[in-house]
């Protein structure tokens, strides 16, 4: 039976020329060859290593530190520095996470206890599922011609968990925060879907492989209006300033997450960052050419995932500067933007997409 499993793994292994001699040598050892072929089995590599769980965790550790440092630099400050001074405080997020582990997670009397505790963990489901479908070169979890549509569909499920978290808290400010999250959900979802549809019309297909192959000119220049609409929708969807409305710190004391403490608080705080990661992955595939880049022959199959990850991190690193520039909009002003200017711009991008799609293919 072990032989059958090994055969399944070996049939879909990653092809990395520089590591080939080590893999060949380890194939002889009885238990270790199972582990090694599992790690380099393409679906496992996609879901767990890049662009999956481990790279998600590394990205979280990096982005929390980088955002605070960049914001501090704009604000005439220094930012986190003391945790390990020689590397200028880079493991600050790890120190914060460890602190959350040791803090007491208080569940107050009025909360719906099972939902309160389990929902932050259940919120990971719509966040981690789309990673199955995001391809990076030959490395993909499940290969399907509808990958872009599936990713958008799963991203649409995440706000439901946030509303449920606010409802489970059973508190005055959490209720107001949930209502605001529901309103914001209506505001950005339709322009987001229309702009993604515009890009699908440009390339003629929703298959990620075909999209990346067709991007000899980058997607930004093919349909710049869809690019702007997607960026503003990304800011709205992940509760980033200037649209940080459900989690307004000063007005409603953190909205749906007001009653959380301890490790549950750590879990709910990263939901927005994970959603940003997903949307940035989709952004890179649609607009920036996905995993294409200069080829280094010795790295073989490892190179496209690395390019995808690096491009995503660069895009997010540039986007976090918006946090230090803008103040927060009011709910009705943000909804007005979503339903008038953003919707109009997305319809324009749809028309432009049809024209460019006809010209391209």
């Amino acid at each position: 039976m072990l032989e059958e499993i090994l055969e399944i793994f070996r049939s879909n292994m990653m092809d990395i020329p520089i590591l080939k001699p080590i893999i060949l040598k380890l194939e002889g050892v009885p238990v270790l060859n199972l582990i090694v072929s599992l790690i380099f089995w393409r679906p496992f590599f996609a879901v767990i290593i890049i662009p999956g769980l481990i790279s998600l965790v590394l990205y979280l550790l990096y982005i929390v530190w980088f955002e605070r440092k960049l914001t501090a630099r704009v604000q005439w400050r220094v930012g986190p520095l003391e945790v390990s001074r020689p590397i200028r405080g880079a493991i600050q997020a790890l120190a914060d996470g460890l602190r959350y582990f040791f803090q007491e997670a208080i569940v107050h009397v009025d909360a719906h206890r099972p939902y309160f505790i389990q929902l932050p963990i259940l919120a990971f489901i719509p966040v981690l599922l789309p990673i199955l479908f995001i391809p990076a070169g030959a490395v993909v979890g499940i290969r399907t011609p509808y990958s872009v549509q599936l990713i958008v569909a799963f991203i649409a499920l995440i706000p439901l968990t946030i509303i449920a978290i606010g409802w489970a808290s059973n508190s005055r400010f959490a209720y107001i925060g949930s209502v605001r999250e529901a309103f914001m959900y209506f505001g950005y979802e339709i322009p987001l879907i229309i702009s993604v549809m515009a890009m699908i019309l440009v390339y003629g297909t929703g298959d990620a492989y075909a999209i990346v192959k067709k991007q000899s000119i980058l997607g930004i220049f093919l349909n710049p209006i869809a690019f702007l609409v997607y960026i503003v929708s990304m800011l709205m969807a992940t509760s980033r300033l200037p649209f940080e409305i459900p989690e307004a710190d000063q007005e409603i004391a953190f909205g749906p997450f007001v009653e959380y403490s301890g490790i549950l608080f750590g879990l709910v705080m990263v939901i927005a960052y994970e959603k940003l990661y997903l949307m940035a992955l989709l952004f890179v595939i649609l607009f920036l050419g996905g995993w294409s880049g200069p080829v280094i022959p010795t790295l073989g199959d490892l190179l496209p995932p690395i390019w995808l990850f690096v491009k995503t991190v660069v895009v997010i690193s540039i986007l976090v500067i918006v946090r230090s520039i803008y103040a927060r909009y009011r709910l009705d002003q943000a909804l007005r933007i979503g339903w008038t200017s953003l919707l109009g711009a997305s319809v324009l991008s749809l028309i432009l997409g049809i024209i460019v799609g006809v010209w391209l293919g």
Partner: protein
């Protein structure tokens, strides 16, 4: 849309019966019967200062707000009845921390009014420089609080960084960063030399330079303008009716400034303007204060170029050839004011502050000290301007008024 009233027996939720809510239970039941919602923006809240506000909301529109001030009441007026006149100086400048020189000035002018003390010219110029520096510091602090209430953390850090220059000037002049207790009856505590005055002069130019960065990133920011424009509007007649003071009155179209109506110190010898706006909304209140910063910088520069030489403490207090250092106790500890009531008004940064000393003629402690701070005077107008606005505007209007609970509660 029509509303129908259905009389069902309604019980407010359990939390309102178990917590301490400083409103009568009939009010709470009335709120629930008319389908409104009570939000308690309490004293321990990321966006309320230290004051409890009981907000009655219908949907997203505020119906009315009941303030509950007094969380930081420390009994300044009562403590002042047990301290010597000179020992009250650090006491009365503590309520409004950054604005210490203006409060200090008001109290000391009341004592000088009672004892008929003539202040020398150089001391008057030094006092004016201190008062204007503190006014700039307070306006910057209020701008920073406005920014953080709207989520703009850069707009919070920039004014505090600029305020460091103000605090550096204050340290070089007086020795302490803000509450300096530098103004005493008859003049100031010690002289300031030429090098420090040059530093303060160039510091005003540095402040104006850094204010340009602040202007580009916060004052002209479209999201900030969208949050503050046409929000919390008080018309001219409403502003006068509800008793607004200070820059908030000037933002509604009334040209009233104590420094020009009843001038004190050297304000009638300098040339300066009063910024007035007609709009009366949150953005106008903010812009009036930003323009006042520029006016204060120009006043400081004029004072430094015109300051005469001479004594810094009056001759009625201490004779020629001596300074206060070493003689402080012998001169001030047994001041006894003649019987009567002595009142002064001063233009503090947030409005008009009134000091009133009542003395019985024989004790060396005041019989009664009455302080009316600007925060207390415009609280009513602040509550009235909230009616009809959205819930998210509560923080924006709070920041645009610059309400400071320790100053209002004393």
């Amino acid at each position: 849309m029509d509303e129908y009233r259905v009389d069902v027996p309604v019980k407010p939720p359990q939390e309102f019966r178990s917590y301490f809510i400083p409103v009568p239970p009939e009010f709470v039941e009335d709120v629930y019967r008319s389908d409104d919602y009570l939000v308690l923006v309490g004293p321990q809240h990321p966006g309320s200062g230290h004051m409890r506000l009981i907000v009655r909301v219908k949907g997203d529109i505020i119906q009315e707000v009941l303030p509950d001030p007094g969380y930081v009441h420390r009994g300044v007026e009562k403590i002042a009845e047990n301290r010597l006149y000179i020992q009250n100086i650090p006491l009365v400048e503590r309520p409004s921390i950054m604005d210490a020189a203006n409060f200090n000035l008001g109290y000391v002018r009341a004592i000088e009014d009672a004892l008929d003390i003539e202040v020398p010219e150089r001391a008057k110029y030094l006092r004016t420089i201190l008062a204007e520096l503190c006014r700039i510091g307070t306006h910057l602090y209020d701008a920073a609080i406005l920014a953080v209430f709207m989520g703009h953390t850069t707009g919070f850090m920039y004014p505090f960084g600029i305020r460091e220059i103000v605090c550096e000037c204050l340290v070089r002049m007086t020795g302490a960063r803000f509450t300096s207790s530098f103004i005493i009856p008859g003049g100031v505590r010690r002289d300031v030399d030429e090098k420090t005055l040059r530093y303060v002069y160039y510091a005003t130019l540095a402040i104006a330079n850094r204010l340009k960065s602040f202007e580009r990133i916060f004052i002209n920011n479209p999201t900030v303008i969208a949050r503050l424009k046409d929000v919390g509007v008080l018309t001219r007649s409403e502003a006068i009716k509800f008793g607004l003071v200070g820059p908030f009155l000037r933002a509604s179209g009334v040209e009233y400034d104590v420094r020009s109506v009843e001038p004190y110190e050297v304000y009638d010898e300098l040339t300066w303007d009063i910024p007035v706006s007609d709009d009366g909304d949150g953005y106008a209140r903010f812009l009036v204060r930003v323009n006042e910063i520029n006016q204060s910088l120009s006043i400081i520069r004029q004072c430094i170029t015109r300051i005469p030489d001479g004594r810094v403490i009056s001759e009625q207090i201490i004779e020629n050839g001596k300074e206060i250092r070493g003689n402080f106790f012998d001169v001030y500890s047994d001041l006894v004011l003649p019987p009567g009531e002595y009142t002064t008004v001063t233009e503090a940064a947030r409005g008009l502050v009134l000091f009133s000393l009542i003395s019985d003629g024989e004790s060396n402690v005041p019989y009664r000290l009455r302080v009316v701070t600007p925060g207390w005077l415009y609280l009513r107008g602040f509550m009235e301007s909230l009616k009809g606005e959205r819930l998210a505007d509560l923080q924006a209007i709070y920041g645009s008024f610059g309400y400071f609970p320790p100053e209002a509660d004393r």
